[in-house]
């Protein structure tokens, strides 16, 4: 035990300012989604329903009801949904709400004593027991009169209630006739329209940061623009690709149906301590260096590498991408090469070591002398302002998405502030966190406001891992993290991809494209580039350190490029695949066959009809497998059926085949031929 002195106590967390007590007349507790007691906003997406849950209960036997209320950024109530008890015995209530445009939304819960339901419940029992008949109908009269007061005078409702009141009060009529009058459809409709509510209780209001759909759903394609169109002269020296030659690749990418073209950094690259091929410490003449070693005498994060071209070229690239229906994502790596102008202009933005030198990146004993990290604590306001200026510069040139390199090496509070500012000033701009790190940081960055996050998908390969992870991202961390599923990146080539042959590239692409609303492909995937640098789970001859033009003609034979296009086309046809929270795992009889259903609720689709897709994938890249699937019928509103009863007509979006299915269909999946089904579903 030590004693701490000299600083003031933090404040006690405060009550919500409306009520003097924490517990309302009808207790509403453990409301979710709720991050840090509501001090951080949960994530919402336009046209994505999210579940509101709370433990609601009351004293005694009287019935009660609860509803979830959605409040738009202007403070207007726009949706009110009745909550249903999803854990009878534990009184856990749920309703789904759907925000419809980006902004600072909020939600709360209200609960009330429900005298009409209580009366009906008691009346039915008492009439059956032939007890208290007169009293039962006197009570009905009181309630109907109360309902009349709420109804619009001279409205249809009002007339219906009055008619019921008249019959209910006639003690000469048989009890069952009076009951029928009191519970007629017209009365029920009136009561539903304006329920009688006693002891109305409201919860605090909880924040929900709603982003545009692309923050949740999209297909990414990553390129190193300098590789696109690069070529080797006869003397063996290289000529860099440019933004112009990269622009020429956009048609090919758009043909595959991608939504986002992501460019690794395009800024000038330092020459001091430049890395050579395969991450060697010394570059050879002509080695282009890592684009993550940002900055040279030619400029820093606000400049374009002269070999890539000019801002005009960049603007043309963006314009062409937009014309093809794609957004441009730019890599933001907040770090410097030794030659970055900031090192001389703003040495105070870095860490000065005890010997007066500026600190390069280290993880002792490893030294990264080509990289100088910013010190966010030395001059935080100026650094913050400069980074905002740079981001806005690129936004001014049409960038709508930033892929943030290593956000977990910068203070989380910095991101919270930055992301809040951009949500206010540029709500269209999306930030992807590249934080392949521990769960608290990965999830914390999501909670701090990152729109989406690279995640552990690449390392979840077995059936158990895949099922558990799909459940986690869709139902546990969905309040703070929107996962991006990438089978590979320029830094990641897992053993599964190294050893699974071309089928592994099919399997993981299908899993990524259907398992989460955002997926991404790193250029070269079409060629099944799967050779690793010995001892590392990343590609040999990594594009980070050299030019890597590719011959796309060679990609046609293996069919991967065609599959990527097919997957994106299927995704665009199915809102179910562009929503995160609608997922059910379907158990299967085989340890390699994964099946799941993705669905969108009616309110999540523009036609109001909802959508569902059933996926079945063979995770074994080497063997054909036959398996039985036990379909979870709940997303379809179908009850358990006799074993062979046909329930669905399913159409395989991959093969074009149609099947009639019951609840327990059999699939045959051969990685050499067709490793998966993606079924459109029609209920019979």
């Amino acid at each position: 035990m030590s004693t701490s002195v000299g600083h003031p106590l933090p404040q006690l967390v405060t009550a919500d300012g409306v009520r003097n007590q924490a517990i309302g007349r009808i207790p509403i507790m453990d409301v979710t989604p709720c991050i840090e007691g509501g001090r951080l906003a949960a994530k919402g997406t336009e046209y994505e329903a999210f579940p509101v849950r709370a433990t609601v209960f009351r004293e005694g036997h009287d019935l009660f009801a609860a509803e979830a209320v959605l409040v738009d950024p202007q403070g207007k109530i726009v949706q009110v949904e009745t909550m249903v008890d999803i854990h009878p015995g534990l009184n856990r209530y749920e309703a789904w709400l759907t925000p419809t445009y980006p902004g600072s939304w909020s939600f709360y819960i209200q609960a009330w004593s429900d005298p009409w339901s209580t009366w009906k419940h008691n009346a039915e029992i008492k009439l059956k027991a032939n007890t208290d008949i007169a009293l039962v109908f006197l009570e009905a009269e009181e309630l109907l009169r109360a309902a009349l007061e709420l109804a619009q005078p001279r409205s249809r409702e009002s007339k219906d209630l009055l008619t019921a009141l008249t019959e209910v009060s006639r003690s000469d009529l048989p009890a069952l006739v009076r009951l029928a009058a009191a519970t007629s459809p017209a009365v029920e409709a009136a009561m539903a329209a304006r329920p009688l509510r006693d002891l109305l209780t409201t919860s605090p209001r909880y924040p929900l940061a709603v982003d545009r759909l692309r923050a949740l759903a999209g297909s990414w394609y990553e390129i190193f623009p300098r590789s696109c169109g690069a070529y080797q002269r006869e003397d063996g020296t290289w000529v860099s690709g440019t933004l112009r030659t990269a622009t020429a690749e956009l048609d090919r990418i758009a043909t595959m149906g991608f939504d986002i073209v992501y460019l690794t950094p395009i800024h000038p690259i330092g020459t001091t301590s430049r890395k050579g091929r395969n991450n060697t410490l010394t570059a050879l003449p002509g080695d282009p260096g890592s684009p993550y070693a940002i900055g040279s005498h030619e400029g820093g994060h606000d400049a374009i590498h002269p070999e890539l071209g000019t801002f005009e070229d960049f603007d043309d690239f963006v314009a062409r991408a937009k014309a093809l229906g794609m957004e441009v994502a730019l890599d933001i790596a907040l770090q410097c090469s030794p030659d970055h102008p900031w090192l001389t202009e703003h040495p105070e933005w870095f860490t000065t070591r005890a010997d007066g030198t500026i600190a390069y990146a280290e993880n002792p004993p490893k030294k990264y002398q080509d990289i100088y990290p910013l010190n966010f604590d030395n001059d935080p306001e100026c650094i913050y302002a400069e980074i905002v200026r740079i981001l806005k510069l690129w936004v001014g040139h049409g960038v709508t998405i930033f892929r943030v390199d290593n956000p977990h090496t910068k203070p989380m509070a910095f991101w919270e502030r930055l992301l809040a500012q951009f949500r206010t000033e540029h709500p269209e701009v999306i930030f992807l966190a590249e934080a392949f790190t521990k769960p608290p940081m990965l999830q914390g960055l999501g909670a701090a406001g990152f729109h989406q996050s690279y995640c552990y998908f690449a390392w979840r390969n077995t059936k158990f891992e895949v099922e558990e992870y799909l459940r986690e991202v869709s139902t546990i961390s969905d309040d703070r993290v929107r996962p991006a599923f990438w089978p590979t990146t320029h830094d990641i080539l897992t053993p599964y991809m190294q050893h699974g042959g071309v089928p592994a590239f099919f399997i993981r692409a299908i899993l990524a494209a259907t398992g989460a609303p955002t997926w991404g492909i790193y250029s070269g995937y079409e060629l099944a580039e799967n050779v690793a640098r010995p001892g590392f789970d990343e590609q040999i001859d990594n594009e980070k350190y050299e030019f890597k033009p590719r011959n796309w003609k060679n990609a046609e034979a293996n069919g991967i490029a065609h599959m990527l296009g097919t997957l994106n086309a299927i995704r665009h046809r199915h809102p179910a695949l562009e929503r995160l929270r609608g997922l059910r795992i379907n158990p299967t009889s085989d340890p390699h066959i994964v099946s799941f259903t993705r669905f969108a609720r009616p309110e999540e689709t523009s036609d109001g009809r909802g959508d569902a897709v059933i996926v079945a994938i063979n995770l074994n890249p080497f063997e054909p497998i036959t398996a039985r699937i036990d379909l979870d019928l709940s997303p379809f509103g179908v009850n358990e059926q006799p074993e062979d009863a046909p329930i669905f007509e399913v159409y395989d979006e991959l093969s074009g085949a149609t099947y009639t299915w019951g609840a327990h269909p059999t699939v045959v999946l051969d990685p050499a031929w067709q490793c998966a089904h993606i079924f459109r579903v029609r209920k019979l």
Copy 2:
């Protein structure tokens, strides 16, 4: 979807008022204990340690540290404990804090960048790699100078740091000598006393309601005072026991070592609709009625049944109990017989039905015409004031504990208000909630402020159930519920007790007395009264409806009374048995043998030495069983040992036998002879 109009929006939950952002420089997230985001206080007990946990992490590689800070009711920091990572990889940090007296305490967490640890970590690696030697010691100089600034001038610390600084700066010395100087015990002590802390971050402060030890730990004994000393005249009519005759029983109860005598209601009993024996609807002449049908022309909740005696008698009863070291708990049943004065004096405190009559209790089709429930919504302020007046009246007569009958039939917000007032004005008064109902309500009442709660113990009988429940009450619901373990009550006689014979009464008493810090015995347990009213899991000839004097001579033969006394004596010797949060389940080889270790930390015991008790119980009342126990050694700070190595000398508090134990002892437990061990433990 319906539309709701006409009431103002609830407030957004607010930030804690200190920081503009929710995330501090070093993120501190998901702090527990935390109920409703900190709007309700978690439970603490004087001299009971409680765990503070938080997810703490930071950007980059630099090391950091966190500590939990305990703040007393005056706002003074009284304890600061370093947190340790209990889930490496998930960055879940924990420390235990111990409040020392009742009141409104609070706690918070602070975290900081730890430059000294970072330097040591890096220095060791760099010296091994023989790199940056000069820089390493320049950094050490900087840090030692910073430490010097924090140290008291001319103190021992200051001199030690200066000595180290001098040696560290001597580049003529070998690096290892300089390292040794920098990391000498004296320097480490100075650094530990006044750590260098960069980027100090504090969490919000969370409330902790601390109660006196009796709120957590005690042994209860329940009596119907009218049964104590009641007798039947020769003509068959009964003469009621009185508070005076009940006083005569106090010695017997005290001899068994109980801490609390609990009296079922002692108020006048209504005659209208009085219940007869075995809950029959009509009382026969001479039937005394249920003491829960409170109130007659002789008075209500502020009166004493004339047959029981006077306030003077009551005061004498309380005085005698206190003289014997026992507190008196009074039953508070906030309901009325039809003859309660409130019905005529305050009809507005009840529900008037549509026909103008006052509503009795109902759960249709069942009617409880002997009971009129209060309506807490009609005139809430006056009812509240009257109940406070009544409770204070009894407090004025020496009552320090209330056993609240059916709190779950009254509004939870009423309890929150009442309990907050009593915590302020009468912090010594303890309220026990009798809410045998759904988990949300049971736990909600605890969160609302009830000091302790009847719970599901009576229905947890199998090994799986017992182990799971012990874990739940000690580690999951411990922030809001202090459980009271009662093997039976006047309302509860489970099938296990009905059919397990006398051994069942031993087994469940031992489990109750050692499984939780509060346990309770209902009078008659000594006689193994186990005959149920047919079709009900409660006693036949229930004492609620008749006089039930008992012949305690008959109790001597079965040994139960002696066992109760032994158990209370053992509890009084062992603080480990009077704390909730120190529990480890020891796996055993048999499905009927349960074993667990209860322990108190050094700071929880008055001698500062801590305490531990190992319990082993045979849950099968019919068969002797031999089983192997796999002791969880963690409470003893002992690492796993070779199979047969002796670790402990254990002394069985029940039999007086002593054994030498390794990590996997064998026990033989025969319900006919000795169904359990309760071991005092001495490490060898």
